[in-house]
């Protein structure tokens, strides 16, 4: 039998060690990229969700103002019961905004796990999220949320330090799925709130046009602005043509605003469904086949900018 030369065996061993040293970081880099990608998407989606709810809460505040205006112009009663009714709905929406903000903070804490105080940040953020979720009655298993997520916070930190992304995702899977489900179920109510706000505004605006209480100056702006001119408020009845144009603008813009909100709520819904799907994938398969941004939330951003 031919004897192996020690030199060749030593070179093979060195080659193998070098290979392992090079491969090791590549393997661990892949798994932490999944977690980083998921945490980034979670932070982005949750931040937009919080802003969406804040904008919807503003819509309800605007609705209250319109009802008071309706009282002034048409004598429709608005009493403490009516205002309390609106405030209760606004309060429910604000709870959702705060919960979404807590989720964004948790996701951001994940991404900062390289810093020394980050494990404590993850635990704190998870506890806060649990507290905020417990205030939302409609959320499935809401009352269990504080305890579940406080424990989840400790185990999340441990899993993150161990680079156990699969168990991290498993801890968050039910929470993200519940938030997504709640939004899908409540989305018709969100769309309805925006429609009735626009509908009431349109009705009041049309009545003001009919009573010659609208300054049509802004309608003439496109013609005058290029020349540095501004309109003069007419002292007599506004010409009927301008009144018709104002009515047309009220209807057209009202419909545009309704459509913009419906696009925003649909986009937000899809964003949450996709996020939930990816969390579930990571928790069951241990990896995320797709890491890139699957959707854009620009429709949500556009609508929010119109309101806030």
């Amino acid at each position: 039998m031919r004897r192996q030369r020690p030199f060749m065996t030593w070179r093979s061993m060195v080659r193998m060690m070098l290979l392992l040293v090079c491969l090791g970081p590549a393997v661990s880099c892949k798994t932490s990229e999944d977690a980083h990608a998921l945490a980034t998407q979670m932070a982005t989606t949750a931040t937009h969700l919080s802003a969406y709810y804040n904008a919807l809460a503003q819509i309800i505040e605007n609705q209250a103002r319109l009802e008071r205006l309706q009282k002034a112009t048409l004598g429709v009663p608005v009493d403490a019961q009516d205002l309390a009714q609106l405030q209760n709905v606004e309060y429910e929406i604000e709870k959702r905004a705060v919960a979404a903000h807590s989720l964004a903070e948790l996701a951001e804490a994940f991404n900062e796990l390289n810093t020394s105080k980050a494990p404590a940040d993850v635990s704190t953020a998870a506890t806060n999220l649990g507290t905020e979720l417990s205030k939302i009655q409609q959320l499935p298993n809401a009352s269990a949320a504080p305890g579940v997520l406080e424990n989840a916070g400790k185990t999340l930190t441990q899993y993150a330090q161990e680079r156990d992304e699969r168990n991290m995702a498993k801890s968050m899977d039910p929470t993200i799925a519940a938030l997504s489900q709640m939004f899908s179920q409540e989305r018709p109510a969100y769309d309805s709130i925006n429609r009735t706000y626009i509908g009431l505004a349109q009705s009041l605006a049309l009545d003001l046009v009919n009573h010659n209480q609208v300054d049509p100056g802004s309608l003439m702006q496109p013609a005058l602005e290029p020349f540095g001119l501004s309109s003069r408020t007419p002292s007599a009845q506004v010409p009927s043509g301008l009144q018709d144009y104002a009515r047309e603008e009220i209807k057209t813009r009202g419909q545009a605003e309704i459509t913009a909100h419906e696009k925003a709520s649909e986009t937000m819904d899809h964003g949450l469904i996709e996020l939930s799907k990816r969390v579930h994938q990571l928790s069951t398969e241990g990896k995320m086949p797709e890491r890139g941004t699957p959707f854009t939330l620009s429709d949500v951003e556009s609508w929010i900018k119109q309101i806030l």
Binding site: E67, L74, G75, V76, P77, Q81, D82, Q85, L86, N88, V89, E92, Q138, Q185, E186, P188, A189, D191, S192, I193, R195, T196, G199, L200, S203, L206, D207, N210
Partner: protein
């Protein structure tokens, strides 16, 4: 959207659109008060349903929803009957009563 929330929204919005002309057709303050009282009830019914976000697969709710559809058609017709404001007020009252029953089903 569930049919009950949609029904209550449709009623509230239709009454909102018609409110200025309906009030203009009233000849007495008592008539105006009746119209605005029914309008406020319709508005409260709507916000109650938003708040409760109830389920719409109850057969009793579906029956009420059908009644709401029928009442909605009558409300639309009132725009052509403003010369008989008493009749208009009765139609609106009947429709809002159905809406109140529907909103209460969520409790």
């Amino acid at each position: 959207m569930g049919p009950s929330l949609q029904s209550l929204e449709d009623q509230y919005m239709l009454l909102t659109q018609q409110l200025p002309t309906t009030l203009a057709a009233c000849t007495t303050q008592a008539q105006k008060d009746q119209v605005t009282a029914q309008y406020v009830d319709s508005r409260r019914n709507y916000w109650n349903s938003i708040q409760k976000a109830f389920h719409d697969n109850d057969p009793a709710i579906l029956s009420l929803v059908q009644q709401m559809h029928d009442e909605q058609k009558k409300i639309k017709e009132t725009a052509k009957q403003l010369n008989n404001i008493a009749q208009v007020i009765n139609i609106i009252t009947d429709a809002v009563t159905v809406g109140t029953a529907l909103a209460a089903k969520a409790g």
